[in-house]
Symmetry: C2
Subunit: 271 residues, 2 copies
Amino acid sequence: MTRKELVEQIMKKRSFLCVGLDTDIKKIPEHLLDTEDPIFEFNKAIIDATAPWCVAYKPNLAFYEALGAKGQLALEKTVAYLKKNYPEQFIIADAKRGDIGNTSKLYARSFFEYLDVDAVTVAPYMGEDSVTPFLGYEGKWVILLALTSNKGSHDFQLIRDENGNRLFENVIKKSQEWASPDEMMYVVGATQGQMFEDIRRVAPKSFLLVPGVGAQGGSLEEVCRYGMIDDCGLLVNSSRGIIYASTGRDFAEVAGAEAKKLRDQMDGLLK
Amino acid sequence: MTRKELVEQIMKKRSFLCVGLDTDIKKIPEHLLDTEDPIFEFNKAIIDATAPWCVAYKPNLAFYEALGAKGQLALEKTVAYLKKNYPEQFIIADAKRGDIGNTSKLYARSFFEYLDVDAVTVAPYMGEDSVTPFLGYEGKWVILLALTSNKGSHDFQLIRDENGNRLFENVIKKSQEWASPDEMMYVVGATQGQMFEDIRRVAPKSFLLVPGVGAQGGSLEEVCRYGMIDDCGLLVNSSRGIIYASTGRDFAEVAGAEAKKLRDQMDGLLK
């Protein structure tokens, strides 16, 4: 999906919500456990209930890999279901991959040719040749980790170099030599608040994927105040706050209502 | 596997060789493509031929994920084959994972409970809470990326902080607050040569997993001169240089001979 198409969806739906499909077999409603593929059944119901209020879905691969080959199948079925029934949705494989060149090339093939999602999250530690194999697929995106939402983000990402630049700033600056803002986004945690001002100084035109609203405690208003640009430039993700809002038989309905609540806030914040 | 057990194997076999099972369906001998599971058949033959000369195997997950659920099955079968027939071998899942705490915990479960390998490679960018969920499994190891073998390692890993410490040094120093040298190793590329001296200054007791000998051009002698410690402290990996040494019907035999060649060099270099 191109940037133009993504922005059109955001403006049409008045939403820049991404729903995180972090589907944990230990947390889904009991009555689904008797079905043939509980993970897929859960995802399907969540998707049908939330699709009107969001523009993107982000399955985190860890949750599927934890189930071995069965989990891999559930993921493939979920992506296929989205592509068939909601082709306007942007699909992000949250995989945080990154390896030497010939290996990253294989990961890129997995995600962009085999699974055929729109974007994949990539870890920057190994540098240029670990990231560039994911580029050059038409309409596909790399979403590079920059300043993450977790406590550990302070361990290395904030280290200042001899010129006073922090590591996440070096990652953003350097990686813009590899890719344009039409093919690379950055992960910036909602928990980082005013840091969005610093991010916008080094990445004025890039889309940001923002996890950490909801269960992790980030503020949507603060993210928008400091992070929003003319064509929005934000995809704000909520996972647990939506998909596990209820663990009863009404889980999908309640998830839909939670997604709508966020979308209504977004409607008010969108320029 | 504990450090003591690993060192015993190294001393017994006079080898610290790790064979990288980067099994690419596009590179394996043609006559295997007619079998039910070509990837597993290839791995089995390679393992049988090389096991006397190595102490560890390292499948890189990218190669298996590229084949979807089928690849995942081939990986599971390969690990099960090793555990049944060569329980003395140390098995490393080269996955380079790392995510927020609750997600890393799931990856840890996948690798240490479900797949039941001895070690997993982890990327440090997201800091402490992305790494610690992999710790605390008895006899299991985290192998943290420090100074990788690829060209892109220069992009961020060598950035000096305000005190002159490079990022890879900060990663090694900081992570030693999280784990002892009996449960954490570091990835250091063989292509980094004399940098091993600097590594040993900050990680005098840690095992190092060293890729980059062979196809990537690193020197085994240099690695040993600067990196070897009393109980060896090195696992040197070769992937393509062994498993694709021949692409004919004699592929396993030639792989065994290549592994033996490396092992004979190692025998001479071991203290």
